[in-house]
């Protein structure tokens, strides 16, 4: 399996060489790092697309007077980190967004944070920068102060050039950033005719917290805590991805028991969030009965978290080198008993949901995301898997403890809200089985490996299947065990653009349920 997988990199490297794109291969922990000249940046993307590589992530880093621009690609579970270096004197780079639409917002983010000019970018409006810092100042430059340059009053962000629609009967609906429900802030701009959505434009960035900036100079423990707060509902996913990257950079193997407990934590997080989402989807079409039931189940699940792991939402349970809390036999018994209970309850509630024709009428065919669009945007997690994207890091690039177990990854091509609803249910079923297997495998031993200071400049990529999908985290250490660069790529960054597509030709009042079926993280996107 591994041989067949690595084949494409060999062939692809040959192809790159014949086309004159010279690749310098550098060894880093975990992944292949290919360094190319900046003038081949776009050409590489074109060749990569021909080879069906998936664009995964893009970020940059300021080192002295140079800028490292990185992009990550994946095929068949093999990740390649692509890098080019541009000089501060001339911050130009051909855009990859012309080839990969998924790279568009990421490049806009890099443009706002570093001042790098992506030549030929189809849409180079500002993205992360609202009005909180001035136009020609770039927060991720090393000379930018960590506390920022706060004005006494932040200017209102009035002049963002939204896409306009003209014509008789076309009207615009601005929604947010402050919403009536208790959700995160984000702005949605609709152009509609009657109730039909002509266009939707997202304007995110309201939860920009400067996570990349404040990560610099942290110790591993401190960074793990920060990573756990990139997106609160995916705290295990992000924390794990960050710890994985740090451990690889430092050359540490975590004890098998710690890996299994991490697996249990991740699957518990997945189940809790999926339960909450299934209820929320029902709530958005005013089917309150199901919402209350799912909310109740989620609450019971979280209470077990509190009992077993001392934290309802599992924050800071994963630390560099292992996990914080061990599992006693009685805890294992409680978890197993919980799973039996949850299965029984779900088998009572789901027929009531499945057989409800009024609910069916709302969920089926609403918010259809065609598999081709999902592929073009690199859509991840349950959104991608409901639209035929057969991707799962746990299976494709298995990391402990998932390399010890066999499990199915459900995939559908139906692509509508109903499909994303049932996809969550299928994933819950898989997660419950996984937890049972992990508990059965639970080896005795340590739960924490001793930390070793990684060499200066060591870097790594951590890939984890969070509950929303693949989380990719890049870490580079500086001197003295301090973080030099931290970039977490939440799956929402790739899923948000899909929302703009899947609501087209739906009616305005169906938007909330379409949005909820995708449930992107605002915080994880805005960083």
């Amino acid at each position: 399996m591994n041989h067949a997988q690595s084949d494409w990199t060999v062939d692809f490297l040959k192809q790159l060489n014949t086309t004159g794109c010279e690749v310098e291969q550098i060894d880093i922990a975990s992944t292949a790092l290919w360094q190319i000249e900046s003038n081949h940046w776009q050409q590489f993307a074109e060749l990569a697309l021909q080879q069906d590589l998936r664009w995964v992530a893009g970020w940059a880093e300021h080192i002295q007077d140079r800028f490292f621009i990185n992009a990550c690609f994946e095929k068949q579970g093999v990740y390649v980190l692509l890098r080019t270096i541009v000089n501060a004197a001339k911050l130009d780079l051909p855009s990859q967004a012309t080839v990969y639409p998924a790279a568009s917002r990421s490049e806009r983010h890099t443009q706002d944070m570093f001042g790098i000019n992506f030549i030929g970018h189809p849409d180079n409006r500002r993205w992360t920068r609202h009005k909180a810092w001035p136009k020609h100042s770039y927060p991720l430059h090393k000379d930018f102060p960590v506390q920022g340059t706060p004005e006494p009053i932040t200017l209102p962000d009035m002049d963002y050039p939204f896409i306009k629609a003209h014509g008789a009967g076309v009207y615009e609906i601005p929604v947010g950033p402050v919403h009536a429900g208790i959700i995160e802030p984000g702005h949605f701009r609709f152009q509609a005719v009657g109730e039909l959505i002509l266009n939707l434009e997202e304007r995110l960035g309201y939860v920009h917290k400067g996570i990349e900036k404040i990560a610099e100079g942290r110790t591993p423990e401190s960074l793990a805590r920060l990573a756990g707060r990139v997106s609160g509902d995916a705290t295990i996913g992000h924390c794990w991805a960050a710890c994985m990257a740090m451990e690889q950079a430092a050359g540490i193997e975590i004890p098998p028991r710690a890996a299994l407990i991490r697996g249990i934590l991740a699957e518990r997080e997945r189940v809790a969030n999926h339960l909450g989402d299934m209820g929320a989807i029902c709530n958005d079409v005013a089917f309150m009965f199901a919402q209350m039931q799912f909310t109740r189940l989620r609450e019971l699940w979280l209470r077990t978290n509190a009992k077993v792991f001392n934290h309802r939402l599992l924050m800071d349970r994963i630390i560099p080198g292992g996990v914080v809390c061990d599992l006693s036999d009685s805890s294992c018994a409680l978890i197993k008993q919980d799973i039996v209970q949850l299965r029984k309850e779900l088998s009572d509630i789901l027929p009531a949901v499945d057989l409800n024709s009024s609910l069916e009428d709302r969920l089926y065919t609403a918010g259809y995301l065609p598999p081709e669009t999902a592929a073009a945007f690199g859509t991840l997690g349950y959104v991608g898997r409901a639209s035929g994207q057969d991707k799962d890091v746990r299976r494709d690039a298995p990391y402990p403890p998932y390399d010890q177990v066999i499990f199915k990854v459900p995939v559908e091509t139906q692509g509508d809200v109903a499909s994303r609803f049932w996809m969550r249910y299928k994933e819950i079923k898989v997660a419950l089985k996984l937890i049972e297997q992990f508990i059965a495998h639970l080896a005795s031993g340590d739960i924490l490996a001793e930390w070793q200071t990684p060499p200066t400049g060591s870097e790594s990529l951590g890939m984890v299947e969070g509950w929303r999908g693949e989380i990719v985290t890049y870490i580079r250490f500086g001197a003295d065990n301090k973080i030099a660069r931290f970039y977490p790529r939440d799956p929402s960054i790739l899923n948000w653009p899909a929302l703009e597509r899947l609501v087209l030709d739906n009616i305005v009042p169906d938007f909330p349920v379409c949005n909820k079926s995708l449930n992107g993280s605002y915080s994880g996107n805005d960083l």
């Binding site: 009207y171 615009e172 609906i173 601005p174 929604v175 919403h179 009536a180 429900g181 109730e195 029902c282 958005d284 079409v285 005013a286 089917f287 309150m288 009965f289 209350m292 039931q293 109740r296 409800n356 009024s358 609910l359 009428d361 709302r362 009616i507 305005v508 009042p509 169906d510 938007f511 909330p512």
Partner: protein, 314 residues
Amino acid sequence: MSWLIAILQTMLFATLAPLLAGWLKWCKCRLQNRKAPSLFQPYRDLIKLTNKQPVVAGHASWLFTIAPYIIFSATVLAATVVPLIAVDLPTSASADVIVMVGFFAFARFFLALAGLDIGTAFGGMGSSREMTISSLAEPAMLMAIFTLTMTASTTNLSVAISHVLNEGLVLRPSFVFALFALILVAVAETGRVPVDNPATHLELTMIHEAMILEYSGRHLALIEWASQLKLMLYGVLIANIFFPWGIAETFNLKTLGYGLLAIMGKLAVLAIFLAVSETLVAKMRLFRVQEYLGFAYLLGLLGMLSHIILETSR
């Protein structure tokens, strides 16, 4: 004397409406396996809102501030037309069912204007949806009511109710059709699931709530109270036209007391039915509402046809 009772009856309408809303909420909560708020919570909410200072947008016109008073008054006036605990009251003699529908339309007109007045996208969206739905609901409602009034040969509710009382328990196919038509219309007109969701926070899905999003304080209290009244009005209409037994025909304490108990019992049962149906169904897609109200209109029409074919004796 009868005028006094008429005034008392209208006041009773206004005071009992929040209780009905509280009872409905209680039933829904229990059906969802939740603890329910007190039955008197709607009163507390109204008092709380009344004591709060209303916040009015800077560019709101006079229309925005007077609309809640107009809406509330028009709904109270509509309530005077409907016999609650007694028939043959002077207020119901002076106005008929078409006037009542007119009062509703009047209130709705100002509500829609107020929604537009503030200039937000949500208000305009809500007004547009409300008008779309009402243009379908009003004919359906009139059709259902005309079926009843043809039997009694009058559009006066009080007389029609007396007529049903005098006829005794007769099974009329036309009444069954009209009953279902009126129930469907009532659900749509009072903004209940599956047409609208009064408990939602999702602006884009709202109809009634979207128009009143900008209201606060006593303005909001009046509008909330008016919609509670409207819910009760439809409930009373259904209860007293189709099941009028128990309503007072003479004015003395005993009959009036029985009348009050009877209507409260009937409304409580109706609310249970509504709560069960709201628990069982999800809200329908907005563009299904026309099919739904078209069906209500058809039921009303069938009711009238069956009246003409089966019940008219030559």
